[in-house]
Assembly symmetry: none
Homo-oligomer: 241 residues x 2
């Protein structure tokens, strides 16, 4: 309900109202049109626009001209420096990166990969296993999965260069965000020799999911970094209020 002669601005009351409405909706669902809101609450359309504008700025809604206004996809709260590749990362640390492709094949997605890439179990995916070195010292073991349907015509040459560049420049897909988790673990039997470690040495396990603008995941990477050689660095800035 909107109270007209309250000291609380109408557009603000409407913002709250809409936020309530949204709770019952899913991302992508449309909300009422501006004109409908205006009529329903007997307020000016410009006032409705002010409320909606604020919510769009907050990332709660998205407008689509000619179509309507929709509930936004869950917001990535804090945009971040990331999405640097191993090579960029190492170079910025003054080291020379090198990549050895250990395995490159097309396989049907197992339960795990299918789940993470949001595709059907058994759909074809590329499996790329790479050993990453810096200054000739093994640094990390990286296994990537990419759906064939989305990332067409991947070759060893591309894998050697940059998958990200290929996706953005050649395939013209827009990478929007990624979620990365880091945890501490111990090296396993099958990994240790490649990384020149003893079994049970500390390793940093990093998993990354990368998404296109459409929120479609296009890459799932599981990396194992040597705990004795690799530090993950994050620079953080305080948001302004």
């Amino acid at each position: 309900m909107i109270i007209k002669d309250s000291h609380i601005p109408i557009y603000f009351q409407l913002e709250m109202e809409i936020k309530e409405l949204i709770k019952g909706l899913k991302p992508g669902d449309p909300i009422n049109s501006e004109r409908e809101f205006a009529e329903k609450y007997d307020i000016s359309r410009m006032t409705v626009r002010q409320a909606i504008n604020n919510l769009v700025n907050e990332g709660v809604l998205v407008r689509k001209r000619g179509k309507g206004t929709f509930v936004a996809a869950p917001k990535v709260e804090q945009p971040l420096s990331g999405l640097t590749s191993f090579s960029e990362d190492m170079r910025s640390r003054g080291m020379t990166p090198q990549t050895k492709i250990l395995n490159f094949q097309v396989i049907p997605a197992d339960r795990n990969a299918a789940d993470k890439l949001k595709i059907k179990e058994g759909s074809l995916v590329y499996e790329v296993c790479r050993l990453r070195l810096a200054d000739n010292i093994p640094m990390a073991l990286e296994t990537s999965y990419l759906p064939c349907e989305l990332i067409k015509n991947l070759t060893t040459e591309i894998v050697h260069a940059s998958i990200y560049e290929y996706v953005e420049n050649s395939l013209q897909l827009k990478i929007s965000h990624a979620t990365q988790t880091l945890e501490s673990s111990l090296s396993q039997k099958n990994e240790s020799p490649l990384l020149e470690l003893k079994d049970g040495s500390p390793v940093l396990l990093i998993e990354r999911y990368s998404y296109l603008e459409t929120d479609t995941p296009f890459e799932y990477v599981k990396s194992i970094y040597r705990g004795d050689r690799y530090k993950f660095i994050i620079d953080m800035k305080r948001g302004q209020e």
Copy 2:
């Protein structure tokens, strides 16, 4: 100059105009009032407001009611995930945080702490050692160092609540950024029992340096997180070009 019957919206032209104007101004300088702009270019005040609102949202301008509109301080490029406290972090994961202060004292800085806080060896620093729990399970061991000269009158109460809040609100110091490193390690003899781990269990070692706007470090924290219970999560956005 603003062209009225162009295909470029007037508010957008005005945005460009104002951006040009600003180049000759310093942060904090006032720009023309909304009515002045409206009269000068013979356009509606609401259109001027739209242009200014957009620039405010971009962080280029700040409005001050009753006073005017001013050039904003240089924008914080990527406000970022960081600088959340343990408590906030745990709560966002749906767990109940708890803190036990194991040690709180003033000591002369040793070589290491002095180096990291950029102060003289032997200067007084607070040493705060806290055990962090989530849902009553030990999660991390945190040791913080803060220079006494900068962070005056720290008490156990404050340490129990939030040091960041104290620094920003009571001391009126502005926290600007932090650098954090993460690495994988093995738990040590003196840490294991507190975290209820066996010696040599995988742990995540996180070090953080926090800085004020003046680039003065005011806090150095070394944390040890249980590898079996803690995952570090980062959301990353592709920078827009």
